[in-house]
């Protein structure tokens, strides 16, 4: 019985997850495949002429190294955006979405507790994110030979772990808002606001000394600042992201247990 909820949820989402896996694999392969063109000298000059503020705001690193290129592309913008959209979508659906459609009513009329449902669906979210993270590693690794990307599986895995942790933080915040309120709109809105603010905080922080503290409170900074593609897993940053997820789920759980399920 105890595994029934998360496995069923994953099973129900299998087609959606397959779509996400294929999409993120395609994006990874495309970006990685462009590396030989981008690392050509003309691009290096163009890159050098860009204002440093723009470069930093968009999380761009040295595009001519493999780590810098991937850190600016797959792991820089599109990867995190896709992963966060995915996580917010599942997070909003798993409690609030099912509650609004009436499906949650039937589930909770069975011998399962609300904490169990919330925790098992958090597990489903983690599994979905791991699938995406692993997909990126595999996709980039497969084209790294032909594309002359000089990166090991370990570096890719480290960056993907950061990616998964970022998604987990955003998904958990969304899930918690949905569990606390029962409103899918509030969950998506709340998750999106947190995601956008944390991205903006990370983008603004390098622009002025007075703003540098923003990296301490921005989950996106926790994701990106340690440059895991170069330096490996930054356990402190990953810990912050997972910690945020844990706090969000705990708060969501406390409120979810107490309230009425909506019809």
């Amino acid at each position: 019985m105890s595994r029934e909820v998360w496995s069923q949820t994953l099973y129900q989402q299998r087609r959606a997850l397959l779509g996400w896996v294929l999409g993120i694999a395609g994006v990874s392969v495309m970006y990685a495949g462009f590396y030989p063109a981008v690392s050509a000298p003309e691009f290096t000059e163009a890159y050098a002429s860009m204002p440093s503020g723009v470069v930093e705001a968009f999380g761009m690193q040295d595009l001519t190294t493999a780590a810098g290129y991937l850190g600016s592309t797959v792991y820089g913008i599109l990867g995190p955006v896709l992963v966060m959209v995915f996580a917010i979508g599942w997070g909003a659906r798993f409690i609030a979405g099912d509650e609004q459609s009436g499906v949650l009513d039937l589930l909770l009329a069975h011998p399962v507790s609300r904490p169990s449902v919330l925790l098992q669906r958090t597990l489903t979210l983690v599994l979905g994110l791991l699938a995406l993270g692993i997909t990126v590693v595999v996709a980039v690794f497969l084209v790294s030979g032909p594309a002359d990307l000089d990166l090991g599986v370990g570096q890719l895995a480290a960056a993907s772990l950061h990616l998964v942790a970022l998604g987990l933080a955003m998904g958990a915040v969304t899930l918690a808002i949905g569990a606390a309120t029962g409103s899918k709109a509030a969950a998506i809105g709340g998750g999106a606001v947190v995601a956008v603010l944390s991205w903006m905080a990370n983008a603004l922080a390098p622009q002025a000394e007075a703003l540098s503290w923003l990296t301490d409170v921005s989950p996106f900074a926790w994701y990106a600042q340690g440059q895991p593609l170069v330096s490996g897993v930054q356990w402190g940053d990953v810990g912050l992201l997972v910690g945020l997820a844990a706090v969000a789920v705990a708060v969501g759980l406390a409120l979810f247990r107490r309230r009425d399920l909506m019809v």
Binding site: M1, D105, L106, L107, H110, L261, V263
Partner: protein, 304 residues
């Protein structure tokens, strides 16, 4: 709370949604092994009560015991022993009935496939079709299968016959009778009197968040007013019928008699037998009329 364990017992159950009151102190006792019809118009608080029994919502005040247990404290163990049919049965439409029922069975630690097949066969339900492809009545049957399949001690059924054709309603009543014969308790809500009359032993009448009265189904039937319209071959006089016992509100329109019968229709039938009756229509009164009947009688008693 009383010493013997009732299947369901509530004391002063109050539920408000914000400032909107839904239950205003409901006192109810459902005995083990009976079929209890929970009868009331829409919006009376039936579904609210049922959702409290399952711990889907929490009471604002008052006490609840279901199978001797407080739903808010031991909900998981309690729900293991309950079969529940929601008033609005919704499930993910992409899966087949079989997949849904199996999933719900796993949540209960496994349910014999044989039992599921037997229920589906009796209800003439094809479990291999996706739920979204099923008609409303067939979806309701899936709901019935999952409620009955684990042979629960207590069945909580919110408007169970919604969408079922008369033949299937009959099958449903058989399932209810089999459950009570095996010592189970059935608590079913309805806004249709005849449905409760056919299926229940006792009926609790709920209105505007309060239990108005609890009666055996027989006494409810005696009290239930019926509207009668009789088309005779020749014009008639109102006086002939106005004085009959249990007959009220007599109105004559040429050869057509309109009246209301509270209690036994015997006198009216015998009076009509003296005429040539071309057509006879007897309608069950709606619930509001029953409640009005109850209130007017209560006032008589109060005055006396």
């Amino acid at each position: 709370m009383t010493t013997t364990t009732a299947a369901i017992e509530t004391r002063g159950l109050v539920k408000s949604y914000g400032r909107t009151p839904a239950l205003l102190g409901l006192d109810m006792r459902v005995e083990t092994g009976e079929v209890y019809g929970f009868l009331g118009p829409n919006g009376a608080g039936k579904t609210t009560t049922i959702r409290i029994l399952l711990d889907l919502i929490r009471p604002t005040a008052g006490q609840v015991r279901v199978l001797g247990v407080d739903p808010a404290r031991d909900g998981v163990e309690l729900r293991r022993r309950i079969g529940y049919l929601p008033g609005d049965f919704v499930a993910d439409g992409r899966q087949t009935g079989r997949q849904l029922v199996e999933h719900l069975g796993y949540l209960r630690g496994g349910v014999p496939r044989q039992r599921v097949d037997e229920l589906a066969e009796r209800l003439a339900l094809d479990l291999s079709r996706p739920i979204k492809a099923l008609s409303r009545g067939n979806r309701q049957k899936v709901g019935l299968v999952q409620a009955f399949m684990h042979d629960p001690e207590l069945l909580v059924l919110d408007e169970p016959t919604t969408g079922l054709d008369p033949l299937m309603q009959q099958t449903f009543l058989e399932l209810v009778r089999e459950a009570t014969a095996a010592g189970r308790t059935v608590f079913m809500s309805s806004h249709v009197l005849s449905e409760v009359q056919r299926g229940a032993d006792r009926a609790g009448l709920v209105r505007a968040g309060e239990l108005v009265t609890v009666e055996s189904v027989e006494s409810l039937r005696e009290r239930a007013p019926r509207r009668v319209e009789a088309q005779l071959a020749t014009p008639l006089q109102a006086d002939e019928f106005a004085a009959l016992p249990d007959v009220r509100d007599v109105r004559v329109d040429g050869a057509v008699l309109h009246c209301r019968v509270d209690g036994s229709p015997d006198a009216l039938v015998k009076a009509l037998a003296r005429h040539t009756v071309l057509d006879l229509v007897v309608d069950e009164a709606d619930l509001e009329e029953i409640f009005l009947g109850y209130y007017s009688q209560k006032e008589h008693v109060d005055v006396a």
